[in-house]
């Protein structure tokens, strides 16, 4: 009887001590580790399988990821000049829908420096953490040159190619043109007909 009560009190004490894991820099305990840590590699896990010990690997040389869009203009002054003239916005991004999504994306990726109105008065510029940014209307820009700069960056602005895919880049270009007050016209249609063209294409997509 005496032994049992001693065991119980020891057990209670042990639980009390274990329950007081106050070190929050360690993750703590798990029931069955095998259920928590699977054999499959997680996106950012470490592994001995590859040379650099990372599960995240670049595509094999000569291949591209799925849904990847090849951009053929080079990251040079000549490439910029060429893109400015030759690179045209595909018609599918000229409608109201991409304008709406472009505005949302602009709010995430651009407005902190370029400002909500594209005047260069973003939050980071106002609190002087980042040097002043020129307003869009003070520069000679085309859809092609805007896309090129999102792709490669220019001056102090870095490349945003890793954060935005092809479609998102065009949607932002669409919104920047709106901020600049540029007229956006499709290849064979005037401004007002754009949304109709897009609607027709969408209808075709749904049928097929």
């Amino acid at each position: 009887m005496k032994n049992i009560s001693q065991y119980i009190s020891l057990f209670a004490l042990a639980i009390g001590v274990l329950a007081c894991n106050t070190d929050k820099t360690t993750p703590g305990y798990t029931f069955m580790d095998d259920m928590y840590v699977g054999p499959a590699l997680e996106t950012y896990s470490q592994t001995d399988e590859f040379g650099n010990n990372m599960a995240a690997q670049k595509p094999v040389e000569g291949t591209v990821p799925r849904n990847y869009t090849v951009y053929e203009f080079e990251n040079t002054t000549e490439g910029y000049d060429l893109a400015k003239v030759e690179l045209q916005m595909p018609d599918e991004f000229k409608g109201e829908e991409s304008l709406k999504e472009g505005k949302e994306l602009y709010g995430i990726f651009c407005s902190n420096c370029h400002g909500d109105k594209g005047d260069g008065q973003g939050h980071l510029v106002k609190i002087e953490k980042f040097p002043p940014v020129p307003g869009y209307d003070t520069r000679d820009l085309t859809a092609g040159s805007i896309y090129h700069v999102i792709m490669y960056g220019r001056g102090l602005m870095g490349s945003h190619a890793s954060q935005l895919n092809n479609e998102e880049r065009w949607k932002i270009v669409r919104y920047v043109q709106e901020l600049r007050g540029d007229k956006v016209t499709t290849a064979n249609a005037t401004d007002t007909e754009v949304s109709e063209v897009v609607a027709e294409e969408e209808a075709k997509d749904q049928q097929s």
């Binding site: 029931f31 499959a40 950012y44 990726f109 609190i127 960056g153 954060q163």
Partner: protein, 441 residues
Amino acid sequence: MPLNFKFATLISVTTHLRFMLRIQFKRFFTFLILVLALGFHTSALAFEGDAANGKKLFKANCAACHKLDKKLIGPALGDMTERRSAEWLVAWIRDNGALRASGDADAQAVFDEYNGMPMTAFPALSDQDIYDILQYSIEGDAPAVPQGGTPTPTGEPVATTPDYVLPMLFVLGAVFVLLLILLIKMKNTLRVVQGKDAESIGDEISAFRKGLVANKFLMTIGTLAVGIFVLYFAYWWLMGIGVEKDYQPVQPIAFSHKVHAGQNKIDCNYCHSSARHSKTSGIPSTNVCMNCHKYVDGSEIVDESGQLKYGGDRSPEIAKIYAAIGWDVDKLAYIEGYEQKAVQWVRVHNLPDLVYFNHAQHVTAGGVDCETCHGPVSEMDVLKQYSDLTMGWCVECHRETEVNTDNGYYDGYHENIKEKYHTDKITVDKIGGLECGKCHY
């Protein structure tokens, strides 16, 4: 301030050219320096400009690529009037392409030095505008008063328990023991007065135990109470296994979400850009850091007292980014052929492998704010796990959250659900958000 000493200087130079033949070498040398300095100074000020207006123009047109005191995209401009004549600068700023085309060697040299990156032409600036900018480049900013609103991350959580609580408890405990001893002493004194033997403390305790063991009722209640107490703690301890709430690991770089998401108001999705598209929210690769830290090297960070935290040097934490990606801070360029290293961030939110969670499904399809699960991240210097991340926590949210019914394609489906469950509120669990196989497979 119109200052034109050019003519006067010329006279003084010629006069002293004759004079210096007669003076000693040492004195001549000091004089030469003085004259040279004067000469530079006067040629710089051969124009009249308003520095205040110049500052405004500089911020609007030049500051994106130039600083006065150091090289950025283009050269440092603080000493440009010492290096070039005002006429040359006007021509260059107005249209540097035309100046280069005219065969100006200096212009071509600058263009080549900066890898053929042409400067934007500013045909709209008048001569006076450019003089104002030049004047500003000479005068510069007023002596630096550190910018407010940039307190640095301290990385240490603020202690919430006041310092005096623990000593206070000790004092109270001591007083309690003292009172107990006094009580026993008094009892003994009374016993002696009555003519009985005094009892030691050991006698007292054994008598108390005998009395306790004899009392069956008290023993039963006591055992039950201890049993429930033990079970209660055992239960909650077992329930806490695998729940890593408040987990706050030490990260390899002292990155502060409070500074980036709070003060700088950078959108979560800017850095965690894959949260909108994929299973993981995406740990930003260092090239995303460099979008700002190409420029921001931490030398301007001030501490609480308003002093420069690193004495004007780069922040050692930001230097870790440069070391990882291979950024040459002097040349302001990436090092060719550098073997880049991964920053080994410690993952804070760990879901067990037995459950599937997808960020895109919640962020893009569900429109759930990041803070709903991750808590007030913009107030955390060191990130910690805010939510339980238990199954009960998931299920609770799925039962309460209404789904977006804007998509007309699903109208009929939504009507069926409303009929089936006799409700107008379509929550996540009504569209299958509680099915086992949705998360466990």
